[in-house]
Symmetry: C2
Subunit: 160 residues, 2 copies
């Protein structure tokens, strides 16, 4: 996968499709996850606030699922961006998640920075299967797989 400079994938989403609670720059309340192409992978780093707790000392599993979900759609979009030769002659495609599988391998300590890493393992023009991990301090605590699909064109430009 080629790189697309230093821009976060989510910063390339069209303005009217950038409200997602997990990763939309236009959602004032959300997590604002930012995913970057790094070599063959797409990587995001995120430090959960203390309220995102499950059992004392550990990150809430729902947040972990949320982060891999948003990161998967960004990873899918990044693959299309790379395939297009990074030409900015069309909007970055917006994917949604059709299916998500998350394995919580071990508890994820709360308080440290998480590294979320994604890679497309199967792809067609409108569908990508993405493998993901979440690590803390170099240890993988979560593995996930997401099936991301392009949103229908008539949803890409509401009213357009």
């Amino acid at each position: 996968m080629s790189t697309s400079g230093t821009a976060a994938i989510q910063n390339l989403y069209p303005d009217d499709l950038a409200h997602c609670f997990g990763c939309g720059r236009n959602n004032p309340h959300g997590h604002h996850l930012k995913s970057y192409v790094e070599g063959e992978d797409v990587v995001a780093r995120f430090t959960p606030e203390s309220q995102y707790v499950s059992l004392p000392g550990f990150v809430y599993g729902g947040l972990l699922a949320s982060l891999v979900d948003c990161h998967a759609t960004a990873t899918a979009a990044a693959a299309d961006l790379a395939a297009s030769g990074d030409k900015n002659d069309r909007p970055v495609p917006r994917y949604v998640t059709a299916a998500l599988r998350v394995e919580y391998l071990k508890p994820t300590a709360l308080g440290a920075e998480l590294e979320i890493r994604g890679r497309v393992k199967e792809q067609s023009e409108r569908k990508k299967v993405v493998d993901l991990t979440v690590s803390v301090a170099g240890t993988v605590t979560v593995r996930a797989e997401a099936v991301a699909v392009r949103i229908p064109r008539n949803m890409e430009r509401p009213g357009g």
Copy 2:
């Protein structure tokens, strides 16, 4: 499954294990999901606030994953409660999610009440497999399966 009166399952969790962002009564910032035994199922109802958006008009998939995750562990605990004859002679068991699979069958409209429904389909003393759905206005929009496992006894009573 027998009923356990009108108490939400999460209200029966021990105080020191009730901080979960999704369903803990002791988390002032969280969703406070409440799950109730209704006949053979365990049911929760939840209306997401407008900030939990994905694409405009639809519920954020990360929230949907979070809700089924917490509801699955409550459904697992409810099964143990029913098996014990609802005798309140021991703490309600606390489960965590080992694996979660979510299928987003169709977009979930934002603004209406969601119904989250769970049922244990396989169980042993320390592990439950839970089938789940999320519906809005009577239409199932999400199907999920969770593997919930009892937390290790040495995590149940920190320091105890």
